[in-house]
């Protein structure tokens, strides 16, 4: 970043052309980017009785963010992302259950590492394929892990999972209390914030730019000499690590881990959340998770037997009218509004 120190030449260089601002200002912080965090803190004070729901929401956001990196930015079509969520959850869960390790932050790092390792091993094989083949292979990888966790019930607890995990206090101070979710909520918020800052940095970096290049036209990326497969594997590992953190957090917050961490249900839900909010745009994960979980919550109260019907209808509407999710729809409307204002 020495470029800021270079002497000014006095001549307006090409960077002075306003055409570059789309790129040079893209990573600048905008005022509204503070909103999710302000709202999250406000939620803590406003709904002290719903912190368990809130923590779930934060974890869903983190999980959807991890998927956004692979699917939204690099275009890796996957239906098996819960494999990494589950790996993180079981790593943290088993370490705590057998009393090996229960310091929460380092446990999350271990969970992330384990998930990244699974991402690396599967990615080396999977990422040779694309499209439907890739989709099916990610699905089967997850199914294999799920079966492995089910069959190894001596260590994983099988279908019943591992209950009553003892998680150490955060920073040695803040206890996880199964009745009051204060620590869980704030800890999840902190972890989400750190992961989000990392992810935001990543997608606006040249590496992130090259991922979007792979998504937009992989043949062209080969033709400009990009090490496409290596980049995809790195991206997949990072995405897996973030999903692993989400899974680990889920195990810590709920003090249990079971097969629901690994299943198709979870993988499909996170995909729906991301598509609902809008993929490849960072904040789609936030919007999607809030809308999905809020709908699930309220529809289940209003119409407990068939709440999924309402969700299904919403998805149909999104698929028909808002291909790029809720944020994409907002984008389109905003562009149209600006175009109308520009044209007298």
């Amino acid at each position: 970043m020495n470029d800021a120190l270079l002497p000014a030449t006095g001549v307006a260089g090409p960077s002075e052309n306003p055409g570059v601002h789309g790129l040079t200002r893209r990573h600048h912080l905008r005022w509204w980017e503070a909103l999710p965090w302000i709202l999250a803190i406000a939620y803590y004070f406003a709904f002290p009785d719903y912190l368990s729901f809130g923590a779930d929401l934060l974890i869903s956001i983190l999980f959807a963010l991890s998927l956004d990196l692979a699917l939204g930015y690099a275009g890796i079509v996957t239906l098996g992302h819960a494999a990494f969520f589950g790996t993180g959850a079981y790593t943290v869960g088993m370490l705590a259950y057998y009393g090996v390790w229960n310091e929460p932050i380092t446990a999350l790092i271990l969970g992330a590492t384990a998930a990244a390792a699974v991402g690396l091993l599967s990615g080396l094989v999977l990422l040779r394929t694309t499209g439907l083949t890739l989709l099916m292979l990610t699905l089967s990888t997850m199914a294999l892990l799920e079966q492995a966790a089910n069959m190894a019930h001596a260590v994983t607890g099988g279908f019943d999972g591992l209950p009553s995990l003892t998680i150490g206090p955060v920073f040695g101070l803040f206890e996880f209390n199964p009745l009051y979710y204060d620590t869980q909520y704030l800890f999840s918020l902190g972890v989400l914030f750190v992961c989000f800052v990392f992810m935001r940095t990543l997608v606006y970096s040249p590496f992130g730019e090259s991922l979007t290049g792979i998504r937009e036209n992989v043949l062209r990326m080969h033709a400009v000499g990009a090490p496409v497969r290596r980049r995809l594997i790195v991206c997949y590992c990072i995405s897996a690590a973030l999903a692993g953190i989400a899974g680990g957090l889920w195990a810590q917050d709920n003090a249990y881990v079971n097969l629901s961490a690994l299943g198709l249900d979870r993988a499909a839900t996170v995909l729906i959340i991301l598509i609902l909010g809008g993929y490849g745009r960072l904040y789609g994960a936030f919007i999607g998770a809030v809308v999905y979980l809020a709908l699930e919550h309220f529809l289940a109260q209003v119409y407990p037997t068939a709440w999924q019907l309402g969700l299904g209808l919403l998805l149909v509407a999104v698929a028909l009218f808002a291909r790029n999710g809720i944020l994409g729809l907002g984008d389109t409307l905003w562009r149209r509004f600006q175009a109308r204002r520009a044209a007298p």
Partner: protein, 259 residues
């Protein structure tokens, strides 16, 4: 004769029983303006794919500046200076014009794997990309999404991405294909202004373009080299006229060749 940049020796590629490219001996010199012509299915694009490493040959060798690159991977050939454009646009359609060129420049100078500093702070990459866009008169569209531009201008971006790689050898696969004839001159002007030191091989159907641009012409028919010479020699060669150019009058050649 100046130094040979790219050379093939008995380069051959079969697809099953089809001899797509047969025993081609070909030389491209530094600064060359060389056209490759031939009827559809003559093996021109296969030949380009063998040069860039998209396909591997059944036999023969490819030499870049005297070094054997027959077994070298595509990405490595790009690093060593071979760039190409595509007959049908292969652009990053959802990204801005600037980003399209940014990706290529960043890849060349090794900035593309950086994860920490924002892409927008790599002024070196941005300045170089903008200079290229300036040269191609595209800088006014830098912010616009590629898919919003007319096809003729998109063809220029195809060229800009290749030039972002600072190639020693540039392979242009029908650079004006699909462009309405009214916009054709934009592409041709750009090609004529290419830096003199680049060795350019152009596949082109439009004979007017070939005769305007090329200093040397190779004619491929049925996967093999049929004739090679200056545009004047090729034009005067009765066999070439018979198999390829037809007996059309000069003004009609371009259109005749498209049919």
């Amino acid at each position: 004769m100046s130094e040979v940049r790219l050379e093939t020796q008995a380069l051959t590629r079969h697809f099953g029983a089809l001899m797509a490219v047969q025993e081609i001996d070909f030389k491209l010199t530094a600064g060359a303006r060389h056209a490759l012509i031939g009827p559809n299915g003559a093996g021109k694009t296969t030949f380009i794919n063998l040069l860039t490493g998209v396909l591997s040959p059944t036999g023969g060798r490819v030499l870049l500046a005297g070094n054997d690159i027959t077994a070298t991977a595509q990405a490595e050939r790009v690093k060593r200076g071979i760039a190409r454009t595509f007959q049908i646009n292969r652009l990053f359609r959802g990204l801005s014009v600037l980003e399209n060129v940014y990706i290529s420049v960043a890849e060349r100078i090794g900035a593309a794997s950086g994860m920490l500093a924002p892409a927008g702070r790599r002024r070196d990459v941005i300045d170089e990309a903008m200079a290229l866009l300036d040269m191609l008169k595209l800088s006014g569209d830098a912010r616009r999404r590629v898919s919003e531009l007319p096809y003729g201008r998109q063809r220029l971006i195809e060229l800009a991405i290749a030039l972002g790689l600072k190639p020693a050898v540039l392979l242009l696969d029908e650079p004006a294909a699909g462009v309405p004839s009214a916009e054709n001159h934009i592409i041709l002007d750009a090609i004529e202004r290419l830096p003199a030191e680049i060795a350019v091989l152009i596949i082109e159907h439009d004979m007017d373009v070939v005769f305007r641009f090329a200093e040397r012409v190779t004619v491929m028919v049925g996967g093999a080299i049929f004739a090679e010479g200056t545009p004047r020699e090729i034009e005067a060669n009765p066999e070439v006229r018979a198999v390829y150019l037809g007996e059309a009058t000069p003004g009609e050649r371009g259109r005749a060749a498209h049919v």
